[in-house]
């Protein structure tokens, strides 16, 4: 399945764009998505953390992704 992924902060710089489309297996998990991203872009491994939001909520590694989910990369936040 194809999913759209939003990128913010340093993850946008790493990807060079604020949104990408990615091909994932049906029922892929957040953990699998992170593994794929880290494999394709080594810079992600250097981050203090990388969370994934699904439909604008923090998701755990075993959350299963669906085609129409709004997925976002959340590098370490630094508001305030």
């Amino acid at each position: 399945m194809k999913v759209k992924i939003l990128a913010f902060g340093i993850s946008k710089d790493i990807l060079g764009t604020s949104a990408i489309n990615l091909e994932l297996d049906q029922h892929a998990t957040v953990g699998q998505l992170k593994a794929k991203l880290c494999a394709e872009h080594k810079e992600f491994q250097k981050l203090s953390s990388l969370m994934i939001a699904v439909n604008s909520e923090y998701a755990s590694t075993d959350t299963i992704l669906n085609e129409n989910d709004e997925i976002a990369l959340i590098p370490p936040v630094s508001g305030g």
């Binding site: 939003l6 340093i10 939001a53 370490p76 936040v77 630094s78």
Partner: protein, 138 residues
């Protein structure tokens, strides 16, 4: 009553203080965070704030809801700025009223501490000789 906002326009502390005014709650506690002119020994030229706005608003609302459960807050304003900020400009305001002062200090501190942990907003510091996303790497 809650007033939660993310905006690329300048923030207004007086408006927040006016919002939280409540005749039954005499103590108003505020935190105002501004852009500092340095980080460690490096001179900051400006900051850039980026938000995943939809989610950031949801996370700010969770913080406010939790705070209102834990402390008797009557009114609270929670505003965050985005975009390009110069030194001295306000990045964040938390302002809340409680019947007594002790709970106000705790609630205000909880809100700003938790914002910095959970709300998807990112700060890029622009120095004279480069730039860095704050806290991104160890």
């Amino acid at each position: 009553m809650q007033d939660i906002k993310i905006t690329d326009l300048p923030l207004n502390p007086q408006a927040c203080l006016d919002f939280v005014k409540d005749d039954a709650s005499g103590a108003s506690n505020s935190f105002v965070g501004r852009v500092r002119n340095h980080t460690n020994s490096k001179t900051v030229v400006r900051l850039e704030f980026e938000a995943y706005e939809k989610m950031a608003i949801k996370e700010m609302k969770k913080i406010v809801d939790t705070a209102m459960k834990k402390w008797p807050i009557s009114k609270i304003a929670f505003h965050h700025r985005t975009g390009n900020l110069s030194v001295g400009e306000i990045a964040v305001i938390i302002c809340l009223s409680t019947p007594h002062r002790k709970e106000g200090f705790e609630a205000c501190q909880y809100c700003i501490d938790t914002l910095k942990e959970t709300v998807p907003i990112w700060k890029k510091e622009i120095f004279e000789d480069g730039e860095v996303w704050v806290s991104a790497t160890p």
